[in-house]
Every structure is written in structure tokens, then in C-alpha cells.
């Protein structure tokens, strides 16, 4: 169990569950965290559970899943107010009991809640086409990550949702108890008695994990260009680059800074050229993923000018080596360091960071990490840039419906 003593007005109790994803269990690993946190045996409907959370001064659960290398993470976090601020000495104990019930290995799961969640996600999938950005992202992933696990949506897809059964969900929960590793993190102002109470009730358990394996395929032989159409006023463009630099690589910090300089903040080259100089868009950004070794550029542009925008982005990348100057590198470093330091003031970031450090086996302190950022040179950035290869260009082109007016 990890304890983090930091002054916040709230206390967080989080459980991270790390295991392996398969085609068979994907949909269940997606549904489980939300379903587990939606009720317990004592509060057997969502309504009862929400009433109880309100009674605990608006306590709330946050759940989620993600992929890190070849591992699959599920997390459930409960946040409560600091009991001192509401003068309620029973609050922490009640919260611990609730959290324990949520993760009870032998618990039952209300079948009607399972059916309801399944229905909600099926409808969510069907209506995705109306949420243009989400839809563009989904379609882009289909092409960019073709023949790779990342092509498969975390929720398993429509077919898997339709086929999912309550029985298999229960079996998956049992298997997770045996196969997965559980990490518990408690974050906030806790005294020794509180910590003893938490340690007694909640445990970290499971097999010792190896470091996650990060790898991705080589770029496609030819750049894949796809244009799809939908009823929309803009066009959404997404460019996928392979950047084979991973979390433990020596160029990792350089890749972060390259991403920042390219499209990570308002002084970035893409923001300056595509938005400010050419007025082609309102938003443009790049995002580097060190677990997958990719860098993606996203923008919403005028639907009639999407080719011009794509050409201009490619030009910026081609000229990027000349655009890497000491001044811009210093500014990018300042920005990244600010992001690292300010994340220390966020309780949720701190909770997740504590888990990730343990999970990834990273022991470096924040100062060391900042030092690594500061020591990146222009040559390092250029070396990282050399590894960048365009793989996929995806356009969701707007074709406004005839009744549309602005």
C-alpha cells in the first residue's frame, strides 16, 4: 500500500488493477470498474449507492481503464472530503467500508445493472458518429493501428458488447482476483490511526510484475491516406507518425520536448504557423504517446481547405530541423517543467503518479526528472525528429446537410 501525505481538502483512496487483455476479456475489463463502483451488496442499486455517496458529503467514485505496453489497467478511485472539515469522525471509516465492499472478491453483481450498462454502451457506440471528434479518433485508430491491439477499441466494440453476459462478467472478476496485481494508494492528510485502519482493510496483492513491454510496428511502406465524409461544418484532420522512442529510452525526454515544440503549447510551430500565420484552424495540437511510440497531430479546419492544412503541417515537419533553436528549446523546457511541478499540486495526478512510479519501477525524484529535461540538447531533439515517420493521414470531411445555416 502506498501512502502519500499531502495537504489537500480531500482524501483519495485508489485501487489500480493490472493484468492482461485478451479478445475474450476486453469488454469485461472495460465494464467492470464502472459496474463495481456503481453498487455493492449493501447498496444494491445505483440509486441506493448514489444516496449513500451524497450522505458521505458528496463523495464520488472515478473509474477508468487504459493500456500501458502489454498490460491493461483498471482503476477505481474514491474521493471524500477531509473529515476534519465537516467535523465527522466516522466519515473515513464509512468510506473505507464502502471501498472494501466495492472490491470484495466474493461480491455479487446486480444483473440488471450489468444489462443496463451494456445497453448504455451499445447506444453510446451507435451515437458516436454524432460526436465528430470522438468518431474521427475512432476511425483514425482503425487505420493507424491496423493489425495491432490498439486498433481494437478499449470497450471491445459493438459485437463484444452485444455478446457480453453476466455470467462471464462474474467469471472475469474471479479470474482477475487470481491473475491480476492490485495496488492501493491513499492520498491526503491521514494520521497513524487512519493509516492503520486503511492497511487493515485494504491490501495490495498479486504477482510481481515485469516491466511493461513497449513496442509498435514499423511504419507502413506507403503513407495511408483516407478521406471519409459526414454531415459537418469543419473537417477534422489527423496525421499519425511513428516515433519509436519509448518510456525507458534515452531520447524519451527529447521526444517530450519535440512534441511540445511541435504542437504542445501556444508557442509551438504548428500553433504559430497553421493557426496564427495561416488562420487555417482554431485548434491544433500534437500528442506523443511513449507507451505506443507514436505522435499524432489533430486539428479542426475549414472543410474546404483541409488539403492546404495537411500540406502546411507536412511542411512544418519537413522544416522542423531548421526551426529547432536554442531559444525555443529553452521555452519548451520551461513549459514542460511547469507542467511537471504544477501536477504536484493536483491530488489526482499525485495519486496516479505514485502508482505509475511503482508499476513502472521508476524511482527518480521530481528534481532528477527536471534535471533530465534541462539536459536535453538541440542535437537530442534533432535525433528524435529523425525517427519521426509519417504513417497515416485521416480526414473526416464535412459535407453540410442542406438545411444547415450558421
Amino acid at each position: 500500500m502506498i501512502f502519500l501525505d499531502q495537504t489537500f481538502k480531500t482524501i483519495q483512496i485508489a485501487c489500480y488493477i493490472v493484468g492482461k487483455e485478451t479478445d475474450e476479456n476486453r469488454v469485461y475489463r472495460f465494464l467492470l470498474p464502472k459496474i463495481l463502483a456503481s453498487h455493492t451488496e449493501s447498496f444494491f442499486t445505483k440509486t441506493k449507492m448514489n444516496e449513500h455517496l451524497e450522505d458521505l458529503y458528496g463523495a464520488y467514485f472515478k473509474t477508468g481503464i487504459e493500456r500501458v505496453g502489454h498490460y491493461h489497467l483498471m482503476h477505481i478511485t474514491l474521493t471524500i472530503v477531509d473529515p476534519d472539515l465537516v467535523s465527522d469522525p466516522l466519515l473515513l471509516k464509512q468510506a473505507i467500508d464502502l471501498f472494501k465492499d466495492v472490491l470484495n472478491p466474493n461480491r455479487t453483481i446486480n444483473p440488471s445493472i450489468f444489462e443496463e450498462e451494456r445497453r448504455l454502451y451499445i447506444e453510446q457506440h451507435k451515437s458516436m458518429v454524432d460526436r465528430k471528434r470522438t468518431y474521427a479518433n475512432y476511425r483514425f485508430n482503425q487505420y493507424f493501428f491496423k493489425h495491432d491491439v490498439y486498433q481494437k477499441p478499449l470497450y471491445g466494440g459493438l459485437k463484444a458488447l452485444r455478446k457480453a453476459t453476466h455470467e462471464t462478467l462474474m467469471e472475469t472478476w474471479k479470474e482477475i482476483q487470481t491473475n491480476d496485481t492490485f495496488f492501493t494508494v491513499c492520498h491526503g492528510m491521514l494520521n497513524d490511526d487512519d493509516k492503520a485502519l486503511l492497511s487493515q482493510a485494504l491490501v495490495s496483492k498479486g504477482p510481481v510484475l515485469n516491466q511493461p513491454l513497449f513496442s509498435f510496428r514499423k511504419p507502413k511502406k506507403e503513407v495511408l491516406e483516407v478521406i471519409e465524409q459526414t454531415d459537418m461544418k469543419q473537417a477534422i484532420i489527423k496525421l499519425g507518425y511513428i516515433l519509436p522512442i519509448y518510456r525507458y529510452d534515452s531520447l524519451y525526454e527529447a521526444a517530450i520536448l519535440l512534441d511540445t515544440m511541435l504542437g504542445g503549447y501556444p508557442e509551438s510551430e504548428l500553433f504559430k504557423v497553421i493557426r496564427e500565420e495561416k488562420g487555417l484552424c482554431y485548434d491544433i495540437y500534437s500528442s506523443y504517446d511513449s507507451y505506443r511510440g507514436v505522435l499524432m497531430i489533430t486539428s479542426g479546419v475549414d472543410r474546404l481547405n483541409h488539403q492546404q492544412a495537411i500540406d502546411s503541417i507536412k511542411e512544418v515537419i519537413l522544416d522542423m530541423e531548421d526551426r529547432i533553436a536554442l531559444d525555443s528549446l529553452i521555452h519548451a523546457k520551461q513549459y514542460v517543467i511547469h507542467q511537471i511541478k504544477s501536477s504536484l499540486d493536483s491530488q489526482s495526478s499525485g495519486t496516479k503518479r505514485a502508482f505509475m512510479r511503482r508499476f513502472l519501477g521508476l524511482n527518480e525524484e521530481v528534481d532528477k526528472r527536471i534535471q533530465k529535461i534541462l539536459s536535453v540538447t538541440e542535437t537530442d531533439i534533432k535525433d528524435a525528429l529523425k525517427k519521426l515517420t509519417l504513417d497515416t493521414v485521416y480526414v473526416l470531411e464535412g459535407v453540410p446537410h442542406e438545411t444547415d445555416t450558421l
Binding site: 448514489n50 463523495a59 445497453r119 447506444e123 465528430k132 459526414t230 461544418k233 485548434d283 517543467i337 446537410h401
Partner: protein
């Protein structure tokens, strides 16, 4: 410097009033924090489309407050975003119906970034070229929002609810409404609204109070001249709706509905207005929130899905409830919701639920204090409404169960407008 301590929340507020008119409120976190959040807020936003200055009445193009927010970042040396980045600060801005805010967060060089922020606000740099190029960027922003069906429907529903109140216009305006805006319009507006006397500077998080005080001593020497605050004009809105119901036909995967309740609005003292806002908010959550019986029933009957929300909006002269849903049975859902709001509501407003909600709201308030950016935003929002952030819990305590009945009776079927978005008929 004035100092006020709020023992219950372990917060201390420091207030400075500078000679050039700027008001400064500081909420330091002295232990274990790195980030400083700084916000300058101006009580001028998207629904302020007319004002009186002296004998002169001025009318504005919708979207101009948001346009001005964009152009404030233009500096003679280039884009101010780059200036903040050079100082390691992360800057942003936003325009609401009644307020424009300029924010940055920083962990180093806070005073330098603060000086840059104030300098940016003191340096209007508008010309024909930079105004025209900004129009292209804002046009893309507006189109982006209109590609979101919720935003599209909200704009249309407000047009169907309000005759003359400027809340019927989108905060960003439209491509047509921003087209005539020129550099002169922006400069006039800047002079009328952006004087330091009309600004609140809020600082929260890690800070060196001594260094800040010393900086303000130097900044207050900057004479910004005489200023007369304009009087915002909000036209009187009739009580009745423009349109009771409309259907938009547009490609969509599932029918969507937005329902709006136009509540009667009158001038109230800030505390009373806020109490009313909280009461209606509580009423809505008790009726249709995640722990309510009706919400559970609507889910069971498969009439709603995850894309369901209930919200209330309270602005001067425009108070409303909005409900959004996606449903295969949209007509049935509409009837159920109207019956619930107008007839069946009393069944669900129990005293025990009310007491539980009071606890939950207190908790939510404490949660919001945990997040610096939210804290700064809420602080200025309440300040411009004539309230203190730390009065919120007092107002919460004043709400009685009877208050719920009072607001409940204001909801009537003839005050409800609905909008459907459906696939075109083949």
C-alpha cells in the same frame, strides 16, 4: 492590506485596493504547493450587447466580447501566448455570458508573468490586419461548436425561449455577426470596459505576499486616467415563450431532445439571487439527479441513456432550466418529463432527501476549493455577483424545505419549450 480569515475552511484572504483602481484579492496556500493561479476578470461578457455611457447609448455586435478576448493577446512584439510561454507560464482566457477572464498558471517567475499579464491588458494593439486574420480563426471556433449537436440545439432552443434577452445569442456570436467588427469597435469597447477600476485580480496558490505587495506598489503608480463605469442595459424580456416546440431535421444516429423551462426573473439582492439559484439547482437534482427515483425509472424504461443532463442557468433577466436527452422514444420522454416537472414532482421532494443534499452540497463546495483553477474562477464569479466565495455555505444553510416548494410552483407547462433533432423524413 485587509486580511480576513475563514477558520472553517482554513483559508485567509488578503485584499488590496490600488491607487489606479485595480482590486487585488489573494488566497495563499503557504504549505506544500508549487503552482500560482492568476486571473484578471472583467464583468463584461457575451450577453452584454448594449450599454449607456454618459448620455451615449452603445449597441454591440453579438460575439464582440469574445472577439476582444482573442485580440487582447495581440501585442506589438507578437502573440502574447508566446510571451507567457517564454516565462514558463501557461495562459488561457474565457468569455462567459457576463464575464471575461484572463488566466495563467506558473511555478516560476510569477511576478514577471503577472507583470506581463497586466501589461498585455494595458496594451490594446488592434489593427485592421490582425482583426481580419482573427476572424478566420474565430470562424473555425464557431463552426467547431456548431458541429456539436448539444451546442447547436442549445442555441436554437434559447432563440425559441427568449424574445429580446441577449442570452438568446451565442457567446461567440455568428460568422455574420462578427464580420462587421473592426479595430475601432474593439478599441472603444476596450476603453469602456477594461479600465483597472473594472478589473478584479485574483491570485491563489503558492505566493510570496511580500514580493507581490512590493510589485503592486510599483504597478499602482501607472496612472490609467479617469474612468466612468458604463451601465449595462439588459432589455426587459416578456414572460411568454417565442415558440413552444420545434423539430430540426438533420442526420443523426438517435433522436435528441432539449427542453427548456423559462423561469420568471426579477431583480434580487445578490444573496437572494444566489439562494434562489442554489434552491433550483437542488430541486433539479432531487428530481432528476443520479440518486433520484425518476432518473432510475427513466433508465429502467430505456427512455434515456448516458447522454442525459439537467442544468440551470441564472443570469440577470434570464433564469432557466435546461434538460438534454437522447432517446428512441423522444415523444414519450417529453411527456414524462413535462408531467414530472409540472405535476408529479411533489412525490419526490422528501425532507430526508433535502437534508442529504445539503450535506452533499457542502462536500462539493469543499471539493471545489481543492482545485486551484476552479477556486479562482468561482471566486471572481461570485465577486462580480456581489458575493464572497466563503459565503456560499451560509447561503446553503439558509435554504429551507419550504423554499423548494416556492420554486417548484414557478414551473408551469406554458413556460416549457422543447426542441427535437431528428433524422430527415425520407
Amino acid at each position: 492590506m485587509k486580511q480576513i480569515h475563514f477558520e472553517r475552511f482554513k483559508e485567509t484572504l488578503y485584499i488590496l485596493k490600488l491607487k489606479n483602481g485595480l482590486t487585488v484579492h489573494m488566497l495563499p496556500l503557504l504549505l506544500e504547493s508549487y503552482t500560482t493561479f492568476v486571473e484578471v476578470s472583467i464583468p463584461f461578457g457575451g450577453m452584454h450587447l448594449a450599454y449607456q455611457k454618459g448620455h451615449l447609448k452603445k449597441e454591440l455586435h453579438s460575439g464582440i466580447a469574445h472577439f476582444l478576448e482573442h485580440k487582447i493577446f495581440a501585442m506589438p512584439e507578437g502573440d502574447a501566448f508566446a510571451g507567457f510561454s517564454k516565462l514558463g507560464a501557461d495562459a488561457n482566457a474565457m468569455t462567459s455570458y457576463t464575464q471575461t477572464s484572463y488566466i495563467f498558471s506558473s511555478t516560476e517567475q510569477v511576478i514577471e508573468a503577472l507583470d506581463y499579464l497586466l501589461n498585455m491588458l494595458d496594451t490594446p494593439y488592434f489593427n485592421q490586419e490582425n482583426v481580419e486574420s482573427e476572424k478566420k480563426i474565430i470562424n473555425e471556433e464557431l463552426k467547431m461548436y456548431l458541429d456539436d449537436p448539444i451546442q447547436l440545439m442549445q442555441n436554437k432552443l434559447l432563440e425559441n425561449m427568449y424574445h429580446v434577452h441577449p442570452i438568446k445569442y451565442d457567446i461567440g456570436g455568428t460568422i455574420d455577426s462578427i464580420e462587421p467588427i473592426n479595430d475601432r469597435d474593439l478599441l472603444d469597447l476596450y476603453r469602456d470596459m477594461y479600465h483597472p477600476k473594472n478589473r478584479l485580480l485574483t491570485i491563489a496558490g503558492h505566493m510570496d505576499l511580500k514580493a507581490l505587495t512590493s510589485y503592486f506598489k510599483s504597478y499602482e503608480k501607472k496612472d490609467m486616467g479617469f474612468y466612468e463605469k458604463p451601465k449595462i442595459i439588459i432589455p426587459k424580456e416578456p414572460k411568454h415563450l417565442v415558440k413552444k416546440h420545434e423539430v430540426i431535421y438533420k442526420p443523426t444516429s438517435m433522436p435528441k431532445m432539449m427542453l427548456g423551462v423559462k423561469l420568471p426573473s426579477k431583480n434580487r439582492k445578490p444573496q437572494d439571487a444566489f439562494k434562489r439559484e442554489m434552491t433550483i439547482n437542488m430541486f433539479l437534482n432531487m428530481l432528476l439527479g443520479a440518486s433520484s427515483k425518476p432518473y432510475e425509472m427513466l433508465l429502467e424504461e430505456k427512455l434515456i441513456n448516458q447522454n442525459f443532463f439537467v442544468q440551470s442557468t441564472f443570469e440577470k433577466g434570464a433564469e432557466m432550466i435546461l434538460i438534454y436527452a437522447e432517446s428512441k422514444k423522444i415523444t414519450t420522454l417529453k411527456k414524462k418529463l413535462i408531467d414530472l416537472l409540472c405535476i408529479d414532482r411533489e412525490v419526490y421532494l422528501k425532507k430526508s432527501t433535502f437534508d442529504r443534499f445539503k450535506k452533499a452540497y457542502l462536500g462539493q463546495f469543499i471539493h471545489s476549493l481543492n482545485h486551484l483553477e476552479t477556486k479562482v474562477y468561482l471566486y471572481s464569479r461570485f465577486y462580480h455577483q456581489g458575493l464572497s466565495l466563503f459565503e456560499v455555505t451560509d447561503v446553503l444553510n439558509e435554504i429551507s424545505y419550504d423554499d423548494l416548494n416556492e420554486v417548484m410552483n414557478e414551473i408551469k407547462a406554458n413556460r416549457i419549450s422543447t426542441l427535437f433533432l431528428k433524422r430527415p423524413k425520407v
